[in-house]
Symmetry: D2
Subunit: 365 residues, 4 copies
Amino acid sequence: MAGSSYGTIFKITTWGESHGEGVGVVVDGCPAGLELCEDDIQLFLNRRKPGQNRYSTPRKESDSVEILSGIFEGHTTGTPISLLVRNTSQRSGDYGEIANYYRPGHADYTFDAKYGFRDYRGGGRSSGRETIGRVAGGAIASKLLATLGITLLTYTRSIGPVSIESFDAAEISRNPLSMPDANTAKKAASYLETCLQDHNSSGGLVECIIHGVPSGIGDPVFEKLDANLAKALMSIGAVKGVEIGDGMSVAQATGLTDNDGFSMDSSGQIIKLSNHAGGILGGISDGSDICLRAAFKPTPSIFASQKTVTRTGDTLDVQIKGRHDPIIAPRAVVVVESMAAITILDALLVGMSAKLSNVQAIWKK
Amino acid sequence: MAGSSYGTIFKITTWGESHGEGVGVVVDGCPAGLELCEDDIQLFLNRRKPGQNRYSTPRKESDSVEILSGIFEGHTTGTPISLLVRNTSQRSGDYGEIANYYRPGHADYTFDAKYGFRDYRGGGRSSGRETIGRVAGGAIASKLLATLGITLLTYTRSIGPVSIESFDAAEISRNPLSMPDANTAKKAASYLETCLQDHNSSGGLVECIIHGVPSGIGDPVFEKLDANLAKALMSIGAVKGVEIGDGMSVAQATGLTDNDGFSMDSSGQIIKLSNHAGGILGGISDGSDICLRAAFKPTPSIFASQKTVTRTGDTLDVQIKGRHDPIIAPRAVVVVESMAAITILDALLVGMSAKLSNVQAIWKK
Amino acid sequence: MAGSSYGTIFKITTWGESHGEGVGVVVDGCPAGLELCEDDIQLFLNRRKPGQNRYSTPRKESDSVEILSGIFEGHTTGTPISLLVRNTSQRSGDYGEIANYYRPGHADYTFDAKYGFRDYRGGGRSSGRETIGRVAGGAIASKLLATLGITLLTYTRSIGPVSIESFDAAEISRNPLSMPDANTAKKAASYLETCLQDHNSSGGLVECIIHGVPSGIGDPVFEKLDANLAKALMSIGAVKGVEIGDGMSVAQATGLTDNDGFSMDSSGQIIKLSNHAGGILGGISDGSDICLRAAFKPTPSIFASQKTVTRTGDTLDVQIKGRHDPIIAPRAVVVVESMAAITILDALLVGMSAKLSNVQAIWKK
Amino acid sequence: MAGSSYGTIFKITTWGESHGEGVGVVVDGCPAGLELCEDDIQLFLNRRKPGQNRYSTPRKESDSVEILSGIFEGHTTGTPISLLVRNTSQRSGDYGEIANYYRPGHADYTFDAKYGFRDYRGGGRSSGRETIGRVAGGAIASKLLATLGITLLTYTRSIGPVSIESFDAAEISRNPLSMPDANTAKKAASYLETCLQDHNSSGGLVECIIHGVPSGIGDPVFEKLDANLAKALMSIGAVKGVEIGDGMSVAQATGLTDNDGFSMDSSGQIIKLSNHAGGILGGISDGSDICLRAAFKPTPSIFASQKTVTRTGDTLDVQIKGRHDPIIAPRAVVVVESMAAITILDALLVGMSAKLSNVQAIWKK
């Protein structure tokens, strides 16, 4: 199936494998007239670049983006924006041994089951490099959202057992783990050292706060804003749980504590007195901050010995060689932000026609 | 936007408000040749019917389904199956007072923000009655899946602080809370009594186990099987969190404990030695049971006093009158099962063309 | 496949067979706030009703439409509008004999080839009654377009060898053949008499002029406005050719005669000096009238003897019994108009986000 | 809107402007296991390459395709196939003058109306170079169809007033006008010489015959095979009319002559005794050859003087400079074939699940 596209009006189509010629994305449906240049996108890509610290893989990937179409005189033209990032650190030799057995926690077995064979080099299409296209698309969506006063703030909330205890947004870009709490970041780094020594890896929790979304975005039934955000986040490799607002904990809550009362603010706007709902009621934005969380599983590639089988059905114990990140979550922060931005923008665009008065405002002469 | 359809090849389109003429669904893309009659669907609808016990609203809704099209001589014809359930207990008078203010935890405010006005009777389109169309579609999907050896088991895992401590599938249909543990069901009932006395309500957790899905279903990137399941479940009203396999807890896990090793079973099939992944690797089914959980928030309609505002911006304290369910989760069990069944079936149908050999098996003369 | 939906934002999903319980449509994505009642729809349905004259089948179908959802206090709510027309003249006995053989020019054989069996009563899903859902959807689209100053005029341009020689829009509703030329309508009626006497039938040509579409509607590549109009019209049963503007004759034209020069009108608007393009350039509306034509084949059900085969492979000569329309085109006029209206409206809605300035006009606070 | 994708399961997404960095396509949903290399695609691209004869523009475009993803060890992997063709003959200086006025018959004005501005260099996104992505996708679809015994034959049927009078398939590739009749090709060439001398251009008619499509492909209502073929062809720039089988002429036909009787062939297969329907009945293939025609308007760029206006509303007479093809049709032959192939393949893939027995054949263990 054609499963590499996401979005209805603002649509991204990603392509590329870890060790093919490159990876990229076609961003279609971007409104015309947005100022855009390669730097806007490169800035986002740099946030996911590996090799920047001890906790991400030391492979040096330059990941330079090239805009192939859709921009004229520094602005989007409304036609597809094609973005290309060449693969530069292909060392197929390193990956030959995984051609024959199935790495636990990876998609090797399921790709073979689905397609009959697979491009085993570096995980092929299930490599983390696939997210480059998402992030490039997210950079464009975020820039457009900013012109509407909508901003996203995304960070690592916890790593293994170590959770943030304070919040300082400025701190996020200062530590390699993208945590908004310098002290916790140090503890988490120490925890990851232990994981590395144990040939082990750690899971982590990423949180995204979207500020400035007007009320009235999203649809009542299947195209609920939270439903699409859940899909967007769960479609990122290694995510196993997604929460909106109070998330899983609502199962233990009561109506009295979970409901958010309404009131009026000083400017005459309707506001909520709390935000257990995470900014979405009945699938539609309520004007509060939208709060999302995604739980990332530990990096499945570990050096510790694991049991597996070969393509031909022999059992064996394997140690996954190479230097791998001991944690996925921090590098995925920008991927979560990108998928959220794309989802919000698409909901805004499809939602323009919700009221007849809007349609008439645009089209009636 | 046209947000009332779900699915790519097997597609349901639901319609209807709580207090309009009725609710229904058009099920399009069902393969021809499946035996189907109204009883197959009624059986599923009865599982979500209200008024069956003290913990669900005593409104008597007969919810009789009528098949309007798509069946000939007892079999699906491949053309759209239109299903209609007339609304029979419309008492608009009861709902007049909510026309002017916004109920906390409901979609009243967001509908007004989106559309400029709303059908306020009984929640209109955001009523729980909207799920009738989903369940009718789920009945058909489930019946087809059963012919492929795929079965779903869904139940209430916890209510407020009360979680199951043992598991007996046969117990699920024996208690009104759809719990697989009779003892826990009693404790949960007692907890709900307290909620009712406090004019309060409780959240709950629903779990769904899908057995028999072949490996190789779902797509690698945006159409990951878990991404679509997450959307399917999060699109159900009141769901605020969705988990696959170990879910949110993977954020605290390590690679050594979270990875599922592979082995061979006695019949020469590849199996996983554990199932932390919940049956899905890289977005594609791995042949193990698929395990899902959805957290339902407490019923937002409670009699206890809450703060809100009117459409015209006056603040007030409200008590939501009428008898409302103190818990949503048990009645939502069949909705979760239906959405999961539809998602799995659709993934099976779009996945038929993954391999050239499959295409040739069907079309080559 | 789920092939019964049409449109992206404004989407119709039709269902129903000739001799099932009824036929209907779910209209999803209609902007909220449009005044709408059953009479608006009934008026359109009456234009396709059979039995109104000698040239359409004398079966009395009342075709009364019931609105089941999506309207509150006389206005669309933005949620799905479900419309139901019960079948009332089911006389299955009349159709039993066609269960076993394949009528030439009908879809009997292809349905069996596709689905393995078919609902043979009255053509089942391939019956002309399927268009009731389209026309109901078209009534809503047309009413909304009218609020934007967009109007459609549709008529029979020719019947067999008889073509209109003059044009008077007022005449269209005055003759049973929906021709804008009273004299030609008489000649065509006489030609159809001959067809009836010969146990034969005639093809016809329907033309649709859409006035008031603003320039800038439609997309450059696959979602060209003319591409979607071509699909819309070709999806109507019996249509075998579709033309935009000068249509097939452009193959004989030269650039000098086919190009439409531009000029300015007295109000300072850009206009075309001619309209060979039929109102669309590069897939995008240019502000001129949009001109479409669809060629309808002759009614395939004729009493004259024809050669065919049975399901089991025996050859035979058949005469299709019953009274059938000697011509399809006049009753299809409103179907063409409906499909064109739905296509134009959908293009307007998806086109609202083409420019960043439009997006900001709706969403920037 | 995201209008640059086509297809449901087998989906192409094209991108690129005439004078940007390049043009390309992402082909998603191609079944895994098809042998594919760059030569397979280059062969198709070469068929549309300009500068090959006097009747196509002498710009030398090398149009070399690069496969960036989706192939491993010489076979499709089931993941997106990204194809890139760099633009090499960008001479923006030549196109500067068309920045300010609207060329008659081109999309300059409508792009400005839609997007507020446009990439005017060489027609930007509405350039004929956009079709490179379609043809690359068509090459892949055609190669897959060939493995199922389905072949396409496409050619120029007429140029201006000159129509083929005999048919020899081998002749098509022998003359620069892609006509299956050497004598007519000569006459047409002579006609085009006259057009060139007159600073004029000619329209043309392209025909496509698809052989070997099994019966039962396509859906009954909106996704009729002919409806999708009509959209596919009408989405090609310059096409103004599309016909299936007898096409527009059915409007003059009678049932007796237009109906195709059925019979049995010597191998016990059901066949039609004629093929007025062009291989499709009720939107579903009937096993006969599928016959399509598309009418291409004359090249709008002509040197003869034409009336137009500037962006700022001044009127002027223009002569479009540069060497332009005097005819579009012959170079569009491979584009028509490509769009037809993609449409047929997609219909085959979505049609795999039409019968429950097919679903069980693939998925039942």
